[in-house]
Symmetry: C2
Subunit: 153 residues, 2 copies
């Protein structure tokens, strides 16, 4: 089967009623951070670089990425809680409970992480990226180049 067909087949799974789309991981983070408790709250707060291991089914989609590229890596924060709608920002109990969509808490109905990173190495089926606070084993679901517009993440 051609890679394109494989990707289509996997992507084409379930989605029975079209209202609960299912994600296909395109890669996984390999990091020295092994526990959520070790992870900084943001990449800019002292996070390390990590490898992004590419899912061979979608490896073609990585063609054109190069050292020095600024990317937004979108992860699925698999250790987060999906049943939380209010949090104390930055786990600071002195701050009032706030709706999760007004915070960057990983706990939220769809725990997607947005990570602005720079590519420092391009290997066979992997990219060195950082800084990134995602823990080892975190699935990657999308990657996009940063646009020049100057809007912040």
């Amino acid at each position: 089967m051609k890679p394109k067909e494989k990707a289509r087949k996997m992507a084409g799974r379930p989605e029975a009623d079209g209202t609960h789309p299912q994600l296909l991981p395109i890669g996984v983070i390999r990091s020295s951070i092994k526990q959520r408790s070790e992870a900084p709250k943001q990449g800019s707060e002292g996070a390390p670089d990590a490898w992004l291991e590419v899912n061979p089914l979608v490896a073609q989609g990585f063609d054109g990425l190069a050292v020095g590229d600024h990317l937004i890596v979108v992860t699925w924060l698999h250790r987060a809680r999906r049943d939380v709608l209010k949090v104390h920002p930055r786990r600071d109990r002195s701050r009032p409970l706030t709706g999760v969509f007004a915070t960057r808490s990983p706990d939220r109905p769809n725990p997607l992480g947005l990570h602005p990173v720079t590519v420092s190495e391009v290997g066979k089926n992997r990219l060195r990226i950082g800084p990134i606070e995602a823990i080892d084993g975190t699935p990657v679901v999308d990657i996009k180049p940063v646009l020049g517009g100057g809007q912040s993440t």
Copy 2:
């Protein structure tokens, strides 16, 4: 494995093995843009404001959002193709085929859209946001405040 679990797994259904997480829409875009062909390629390219209708199941999560907030709205681009791994950037055939992860094409294995927007009105169970190029009916899967770091989307 219990029979019920096994049946679900065989059916390829949601998150049976944790590797294909399923998204829960937290809202939907109500826009004057009805067709993909009418949509600008980026919000900054002349897109209108739109309503984000909140899913009542997760309405609490919106508490704390206010007029003037700068947000990243994450959508599921439901009309995109998931079986595409290479595209001509901006559909310009004079540009070489490029891996989708090096482009902002909506066509990609997980067609997530990232939209930097400003909140212009907060209504009962809806937010006025823009500019946003997503078409009417596009599911919204996450919202995050923009961080001050100055990295671009």
